[in-house]
C-alpha cells in the first residue's frame, strides 16, 4: 500500500477558492514538485495540510485519518515543514536547532533523551554537515541554514515533508545539492516529499512527479516526469 495522502473534492483557499483537487493520491517514496504561478496557492496548500489555516471544503486523509481530526502533536509526527528561509537565531547552535525537531517526541519539559541525540547526530552525518553542529545559526550561510532546516524536518521522523521553495534563496550548486538530497531521502526513508518550486529545469532533471496548479481551470493535476516536457509545464502552470 503506497498511498499516503488522499484528496477528495478539496477546495483550497481561506475566503475564496484558490484551486480545487477533485481526486488525488500521493504516495510514499516519492518526491513531488509543486508547480504554479505566484499567488496560485502553493503556500496556502501547505498551510492547509499543516492545519495552520483551514481549507474550504472536501476531505484530506493522511494514513486514512481525516486531517482535521488529528491533534497538533500527532500531526507533528506525520508532517514536517521547511520554510523557504530561516534567518537564524542568536545563541542558537546547529545541533540545538535540529534537536528542536525532536519536540513531538520529548516530554513536557522538552528534555531530549540519548536516543534523540543519537538520531539527530546520525542525520548530521548522513547529510555530511557535522561541521555545523556547534556553529551559531545566525552566522551560517543561507545554504547551510537550508540544509539544517531540512535536517530538523528529518529529525521529526515524519511520513511527509513539505518544503516551501527550498531553493529560492540558494545558488545553483546548492539548489542541485538540495534537490538531489530530497530525492534520495524520499526513496531511502520511504516517505512523501512535496517541494514547491519555480525552478523548472532542475525539477525536470531530479523530480519524479509533478503537481501542477492548472492556471486555466484552477485544478491541481498530477503528471509523471516521463511524459513531460518543459513547454507543457509552462503552458499549464503559467
Amino acid at each position: 500500500m503506497k498511498e499516503l495522502i488522499t484528496f477528495e473534492n478539496v477546495e483550497i483557499g481561506f475566503k475564496e477558492t484558490l484551486f480545487s483537487i477533485p481526486k488525488l493520491n500521493l504516495e510514499r517514496g516519492k518526491l513531488y514538485s509543486l508547480i504554479g504561478k505566484n499567488a496560485a496557492g502553493k503556500s496556502t496548500f501547505f498551510q492547509s495540510l499543516l492545519g495552520i489555516i483551514p481549507f474550504k471544503s472536501g476531505t484530506i486523509n493522511i494514513n486514512k485519518v481525516e486531517i482535521s481530526s488529528i491533534s497538533a502533536l500527532e500531526k507533528a509526527k506525520l508532517i514536517a515543514f521547511v520554510a523557504s528561509k530561516f534567518d537564524g537565531v542568536q545563541h542558537l547552535y546547529g545541533l540545538e536547532y535540529v534537536l528542536l525537531g525532536r519536540s513531538p517526541y520529548t516530554n513536557f519539559l522538552g528534555k531530549t533523551s540519548e536516543n534523540d541525540v543519537e538520531i539527530v547526530k546520525s542525520i548530521f552525518q548522513n547529510l555530511q554537515i557535522t561541521h555545523l553542529e556547534q556553529k551559531e545559526t545566525l552566522k551560517m550561510s543561507d545554504g547551510e541554514r537550508q540544509i539544517l532546516s531540512l535536517a530538523k524536518a528529518l529529525a521529526q521522523e515524519s511520513k511527509v515533508i513539505l518544503l516551501d521553495e527550498p531553493s529560492a534563496f540558494l545558488d545553483y550548486s546548492n539548489r542541485i545539492k538540495v534537490l538531489r538530497l530530497l530525492k534520495q531521502i524520499a526513496f531511502e526513508k520511504d516517505i512523501c516529499i512535496i517541494q514547491s518550486s519555480h525552478d523548472l529545469e532542475i525539477c525536470l532533471e531530479y523530480s519524479t512527479d509533478f503537481l501542477i496548479i492548472n492556471s486555466k481551470n484552477r485544478e491541481l493535476i498530477l503528471t509523471k516526469n516521463s511524459n513531460l516536457k518543459k513547454d507543457f509545464l509552462i503552458e499549464t502552470a503559467f
Binding site: F81, V89, Q90, F108
Partner: protein, 329 residues
C-alpha cells in the same frame, strides 16, 4: 544542560546566598546567624534587634530576591513572546496597568479592595488587561519599535489618569497611594511574605510547562505549531505568567524599572543559549543578584545620600538598554 552552564548557575547561586545574607545584615560583614534564626523562627517582640531583622530586613531581602527574579522572568517571557529584545514589563506599559488598577482600587474606598488580597488581585488584573491590550496591538504593528512606543504611550496615558485621580481625591487616601508612584523594597511586611511567596511559587510552577513552548517560539509561532505545540493556548499562559510576576511585584514594590528589560539580555549574553530552562534559571538568579546589589548600594549610600531604588536601577539599566539598541537595531 552543558557543564559550563551548570558551573555558571552554581556560581550565581553561591553569590546569591552570600549577597542575601550580606543584604540581610544591612551590608555589614559581622553575621549573627543565631539572631537571624531566632528572629524568624522563635520571635520575641520585646527585643528590638529581633524586630529589626524580622520586620525590616528579612522582608526587604526576600522581596528583593522575588522582585529581581520575577521581573526578569517576566521580561524574558515577553522578549521571547514578542521576539523583541527591548520588551519588558515596564516598557510595554504592563506595570503601569498594575499601578493604575491598584490606584483605582485603593481610591475606590471599598474596604475589600484595600486588603492585601484586593490590592494583589487588582495589580494582577491590571497587568493582565494591559498585556492583552499590547497583544492586541501586536497584531496590527509589525515593527518591534512601534510596539514599544505603544507601550510607552500606554504608560504615559495611565500616569496621566493617576495624576488626575490624585487631584480629585482626599489627602489621606492619597498618602497610602503615593507609595505606588515609585519602586521600593521596604513597604512589604513580614506577614505579607507568606501570601506573596505562594503567588510567586504558583508562577514558578507554571513556568515548567512553558519551557518547551518558549524554546519553540524562538523559531516563530508557525514553527512552534508545526512542531506540535498548540500555540493559542500557550499564548495566554505566557501572557498570564508574565502578568502574574509583573503584577505581584508592582503590588508590593511599586514600579521597579529596567530590571525586567536588562537582565534577560545580560543572561543571554552570559549563557549564549536559547534553552529557556537555563535562561529562566539564569535570569531569575541574575535579576535577584542585580536588585540585591542595587539595594545594597542604596544601603551603603544611605548615611550620606538618600537615593531611591529606581535611581540606581536606572543608572545601571539605561546603559545596558543603549548597548542592546546599538547591537541589535
Amino acid at each position: 544542560m552543558k557543564i559550563s552552564h551548570r558551573k555558571i548557575i552554581l556560581f550565581l547561586t553561591i553569590c546569591l546566598v552570600f549577597l542575601s545574607f550580606l543584604h540581610l545584615n544591612n551590608g555589614k560583614f559581622n553575621f549573627d546567624f543565631g539572631l537571624i534564626f531566632k528572629s524568624i523562627f522563635n520571635f520575641n517582640d520585646s527585643i528590638q534587634q529581633e524586630i529589626i531583622f524580622r520586620e525590616i530586613r528579612f522582608p526587604r531581602t526576600i522581596i528583593a530576591i522575588f522582585a529581581g527574579a520575577g521581573l526578569s522572568i517576566a521580561g524574558l517571557l515577553l522578549q521571547t513572546f514578542f521576539n523583541n529584545p527591548l520588551a519588558g514589563p515596564s516598557v510595554l506599559g504592563i506595570t503601569s496597568g498594575s499601578s493604575l488598577f491598584v490606584a483605582l482600587s485603593v481610591l475606590s474606598g471599598f474596604e475589600l479592595f484595600s486588603t492585601d488580597l484586593g490590592i494583589t488581585f487588582s495589580a494582577l488584573f491590571g497587568a493582565f488587561a494591559f498585556s492583552l491590550l499590547i497583544l492586541l496591538f501586536s497584531y496590527f504593528v509589525k515593527s518591534a519599535v512601534s510596539l514599544l512606543l505603544i507601550g510607552m504611550m500606554l504608560a504615559s496615558f495611565t500616569s496621566a489618569i493617576i495624576q488626575i485621580l490624585q487631584l480629585t481625591t482626599h489627602a489621606n487616601q492619597l498618602k497610602v497611594f503615593t507609595l505606588w508612584g515609585f519602586g521600593s523594597l521596604q513597604q512589604i511586611s513580614f506577614n505579607q511574605l507568606f501570601f506573596v511567596s505562594i503567588v510567586f511559587l504558583l508562577g514558578i510552577s507554571l513556568l515548567t510547562i512553558l519551557i518547551k513552548p518558549l524554546n519553540l517560539l524562538v523559531l516563530g509561532e508557525k514553527q512552534a505549531q508545526i512542531l506540535g505545540i498548540n500555540i493559542s493556548n500557550f499564548k495566554f499562559i505566557i501572557i498570564g505568567v508574565s502578568s502574574l510576576f509583573a503584577g505581584l511585584i508592582t503590588a508590593y514594590c511599586g514600579p521597579i524599572s529596567f530590571i525586567g528589560l536588562a537582565v534577560p539580555n545580560i543572561c543571554k549574553q552570559l549563557f549564549k543559549t536559547q534553552n529557556h530552562l537555563i535562561l529562566i534559571l539564569g535570569s531569575a538568579l541574575i535579576g535577584a543578584l542585580l536588585l540585591l546589589i542595587c539595594d545594597l548600594i542604596v544601603m551603603y549610600l544611605e548615611p550620606n545620600m538618600l537615593i531611591p531604588l529606581n535611581g540606581i536601577t536606572a543608572l545601571i539599566g539605561s546603559p545596558i538598554v543603549v548597548w542592546i539598541i546599538l547591537k541589535k537595531f
